[in-house]
Symmetry: C2
Subunit: 276 residues, 2 copies
């Protein structure tokens, strides 16, 4: 009975909901938009609470629950937690209580890392929250035995948000953070934060050439496709397509900075006050 | 009638309430504690919403109103907005509706800058919110005619919170931010963010020796003393003294990082969920 009801509620033309603490998740939305160009997409950026990376699990869980309620009200057929910190700290609780499928970026990232690595010595960079949760080591070790070396990089998000992508200061900061990982002879580095793909060139400049950079965006998008396909919930190719954006603060700023993260123009954007 | 009631509510042993988005305001609390060692002090750090500097006026006003309600419930006799961003964006609204005196850090900082400057060419560094509000130029120009040059420095708060006080990266970042101000031949630089006093040495290393650094902490503390004295509300010297700390997230982290900002150990600390 329950299952029947669920199928009735979720239809192919319902949107996919995507959320993040701010702009970073737009790199994941971009990938979903490329892999699944017929899907309607709703994005929520929790710009009133950004950044998540330095906050407690209780706080991240509270914020995430409020956003998920908002997305459910907007009749999403699947939710993507497009934030590593929330994937690490809130997803394990959220996935227990929801009727719609919900996925994070960590399991897809872990799978991509295992696919890429040859020597099974893998480095992870992320926020304090993501690194502290040990979610990547746990997810990777479920798939294969590997040596995992982690490094929290709290300054990389502010540097990206300041737009200092090609500054020497950013190169020096990246160098300082990744030095201990290089000493461990890693052959794969996971960009464990959705802001970091914007620093891909900076990272490449400062890493040995043989090290493969893994970001979860594409593998997350492929996972979304696989789930919707399995549930026969992929959108029809002929429907009217929309991309909607919501934030909890400062829509003007989101529109401006969002351009760096999202390949298309951000037009429809609304501010929503979360309850609680 | 109203006035009589007010006097009855506020007594000398009631605490002073101090708030900030996070740790930075502890530099102001330290100064108040030095200037007024007999006062009871309550500090609120809004660590669930930190940082304020990049958020909108609406958001800052909402957060500040909730904190002020909490402080009023705790029977404070005076409130100090120990955050430049909230002083710039929320204080003008808050001071219209409150019965207890409320002061920010900008007016005292402006006064200190005018006292320090000889050539009346003054530089201001602060968060995006503080700089965008033009609160310092307005406050300074109320007191005297001066040339004001502003620079937003969004990376300095994350650098302080990462503890990179004596790193070359921080020196380079500071240099990059203050270069345009030095070109304007300023003789005074206002540290328009309560995190910046921790970068005093870094700033001194990178400024001409004749430039005076002004931070609002001491001048704010002296203003608190002046107001309480005028209202005959200074605490008696023999009372039992307390310092209480509240945060909206992560009390453990506050205790740890707070040590850098506050001269005494932070012992009594509680997490409070703000409504709304």
């Amino acid at each position: 009975m329950q299952k029947k009801k669920e199928i009735k509620i979720l239809s192919n033309n319902n949107p996919i909901g995507i959320f993040d603490s701010g702009f970073g998740g737009l790199t994941v939305m971009s990938a979903i938009n490329k892999v699944l160009p017929s899907e309607n997409l709703i994005y929520f950026g929790d710009t009133a609470h950004v950044p998540y990376g330095t906050k407690s699990q209780n706080a991240i869980l509270k914020f995430s629950k409020e956003i998920v309620s908002f997305l459910i009200k907007n009749r999403v057929k699947l939710i993507v937690v497009a934030c590593n910190t929330a994937s690490a700290l809130a997803l394990p609780v959220l996935e227990k209580s929801l009727k719609v499928p919900i996925i994070g970026v960590i399991a897809p990232g872990a799978r991509a890392a295992i696919d890429a690595s040859k020597n099974f010595r893998i480095g992870i960079i992320g926020t304090e929250g993501t690194i502290g949760s040990k979610s990547y080591p746990k997810a990777i070790n479920k798939l294969a035995k590997a040596k995992i070396y982690q490094q929290a990089c709290p300054l990389l998000v502010p540097l990206v948000e300041e737009g200092w992508i090609d500054e020497e200061i950013t190169d020096r900061t990246v160098k300082k953070y990744i030095k201990p990982l290089l000493a461990k002879k890693i052959d794969t580095l996971v960009l464990g934060c959705t802001h970091y793909p914007l620093l891909r060139k900076t990272l490449e400049r400062n890493l040995d050439k043989n090290i493969i950079l893994v970001d979860s965006a594409i593998s997350t998008a492929l996972e979304v496709k696989r789930i919707l396909d399995k549930k026969s919930l992929l959108a029809s190719k002929n429907g009217k397509k929309y991309l909607k954006f919501y934030v909890s603060d400062n829509p003007e700023k989101f529109k401006k900075i969002g351009r760096r993260f999202f390949s298309k123009n951000i037009t429809t954007i609304k501010k929503i006050d979360l309850v609680g």
